[in-house]
Symmetry: C2
Subunit: 164 residues, 2 copies
């Protein structure tokens, strides 16, 4: 197998949010419903947003640009036990890509206004995809150690500085 | 806003599938249930898979390594009308990252056996995340032009050569 390879992706825009420090950010959009953000797409890509306003949700893929390095085992926000990093959503990953599904409020020109901002202000956006119920929902998925966590814990959980 | 920037990500493994040509691939895992694949993670990352076997599904982020370039408007597999590329899941994107949610069959060492292979054999894997129902499901999402499509069409749709 080939190893030590990498691939370069284009930054297609910037995500503006109310979160200016890494502490106290909701750990996922479900915990960040009250936080609104604005995605500013590169002006030359504006036409690529045509018909996106028919969708209620989009999946954002973004760069965790403030994290450095990773460990194979991590103690995530939602548990006291260690897990392999790929069994968690820690931002400290070999490829630090964040994935958040957020709700579109409105689209104006190259700006997408959304609800569910759980990333830092100034986060570089790498890709965005329309959320499609038939492709993306798995209502009966089993979720390992996370299934033991209470929904209220998820909604109220906020980040600390452990993933700086 | 900063423009023309890019970011480099590590390839963390390779996805082996039965699909050796770009034609006739199911366009999403829901259409590829019968196809099984094997993810081979870099051996030095094996420990990062600990506890992933408690999850039924994972989200794969991979490089569409055989596509070149993109157009702002595309005619996707599932429609005869043009849409902005960001309102579609076309592989020809400014940052050609694929996102597929697949079902884990078993994990052995650095190999993850899965169901729902909808990518080319030899596809470079960039990241994988545990699918978490509370973060990732949006049962009531509205899906624009895609909502007008029949589920049978989605399941039976296969790729052609338009995104080579």
């Amino acid at each position: 197998m080939k190893t030590d390879k990498s691939v370069e992706f284009k930054i297609i825009g910037t995500i503006h949010t109310p979160h200016t420090t890494i502490e106290n950010i909701p750990i996922q959009p479900v915990g960040g419903k009250e936080y609104r953000g604005v995605i500013e797409i590169l002006p030359e890509l504006t036409d690529a947003l045509q018909d996106l306003d028919g969708f209620s949700h989009i999946i954002l893929l973004f760069h965790f640009h403030k994290t450095k390095g990773y460990k194979l085992k991590v103690k995530p926000f939602m548990d006291d036990a260690e897990h392999g990093l790929f069994a968690t959503r820690t931002p400290k990953r070999p490829s630090p890509i964040g994935l958040s599904t957020v709700k579109i409020l409105k689209i104006e020109g190259n700006k997408i206004y959304f609800e569910g901002a759980d990333m830092l202000d100034g986060t570089p956006l790498i890709d965005l995809k329309p959320f499609y119920t038939k492709f993306d929902n798995r209502p009966d998925a089993i979720c390992g150690w996370l299934d033991k966590k209470d929904e209220k814990v998820v909604r109220n959980m906020r980040s600390d500085d452990r993933f700086k």
